[in-house]
């Protein structure tokens, strides 16, 4: 396992570089938007990765509520945290693309607004985990995560349910895309998925270590209730 991490790290770095080359150089230039359209190769894979991570968070939270396994709680926390990072990328790159194409940075369109609400739900989840000191925090957070996950399909399908300014989905929505563009998009998604997996892995190890240190501190204070100075 110790050797797998650096090997996967090198492979991911290579894949990200290759995906960047594909997005900036190999992908054909879109006729109307020109190079601005290339933002799509970072924006869409980041959104898909965030959705996958929020579903992992949902699964781990349900598992924790049923089995009460600490490992499931850690997986839920880690996937939510990394998911929020990817969702932040979506919320930042979207307006940067919209400014030259729509002429505005932001509009209170259903897809954009629901994505912002989704982001706020998971940020509040992380705040709950960070600032609540109650022993019930993992259970409360898991319940919030289950409710938050219900928002994910709503965000995805909002462009079917409502008239929105946001472009239609690339796949499954009846839209069409140049096969070369689709190829680049999928390569970027693969690269970002590998990157997200690596970050989650690091964060999982860190959280495990943090809990071991917290236990050691608790044990130390039990053995020496008067406290000790170093």
């Amino acid at each position: 396992m110790k050797r797998a991490f650096p090997i996967l790290g090198v492979l991911t770095a290579f894949l990200l570089s290759y995906a960047l080359y594909q997005a900036l150089v190999a992908a054909p230039t879109e006729q109307t938007m020109g190079d601005v359209q290339r933002i799509f190769y970072y924006h869409v894979p980041s959104a898909w990765t965030a959705f996958v991570l929020f579903f992992v968070n949902f699964g781990a939270s349900v598992f924790y509520l049923i089995k009460r396994k600490p490992a499931a709680d850690i997986v839920a926390l880690v996937s939510a945290e990394v998911g929020v990072v990817f969702c932040t990328v979506v919320l930042v790159t979207g307006p940067i693309w919209a400014r030259p194409v729509w002429g505005i940075w932001w509009t209170w369109d259903m897809r954009l607004t629901s994505t912002l609400v989704l982001w706020l739900i998971y940020v509040s989840y992380l705040f709950l985990r960070r600032f609540s000191s109650s022993g019930q925090t993992p259970t409360l957070a898991a319940a919030l995560a289950v409710l938050g996950a219900l928002c994910v399909p709503f965000v995805y399908f909002s462009i079917w349910f409502f008239r929105t300014q946001h472009p239609q989905p690339v796949m499954g929505g009846g839209g069409s895309i140049d096969p070369r563009m689709l190829h680049v998009l999928l390569i970027n998604w693969l690269a970002f998925s590998c990157f997200a997996f690596l970050v989650c892995w690091s964060r999982y190890r860190l959280e495990n270590l943090q809990r071991e240190v917290d236990q050691a501190h608790a044990l130390e204070s039990l053995l020496d209730p008067r406290g000790s100075t170093r």
């Binding site: 230039t29 190079d35 933002i39 990072v85 839209g175 970050v199 860190l206 000790s228």
Partner: protein, 65 residues
Amino acid sequence: MPWNRFWTLAGARDERKRPMSGNGYLFAAYAATWIIHIVYLGTIVRRYSRLQREIEDLKKPAVRS
């Protein structure tokens, strides 16, 4: 097709039908993506270093007051 509707919407802003010059926006989006990821990775590294210091402190013999 939905994409056509979108391209038409975008194209309507440029009457000469020339591709937009969006290199600045493209650079900004890619840079912002990597800045966000690097800042997050930085927080992980910082938390890991702090934990390592705590572990070292725990290993040291305590001096009773």
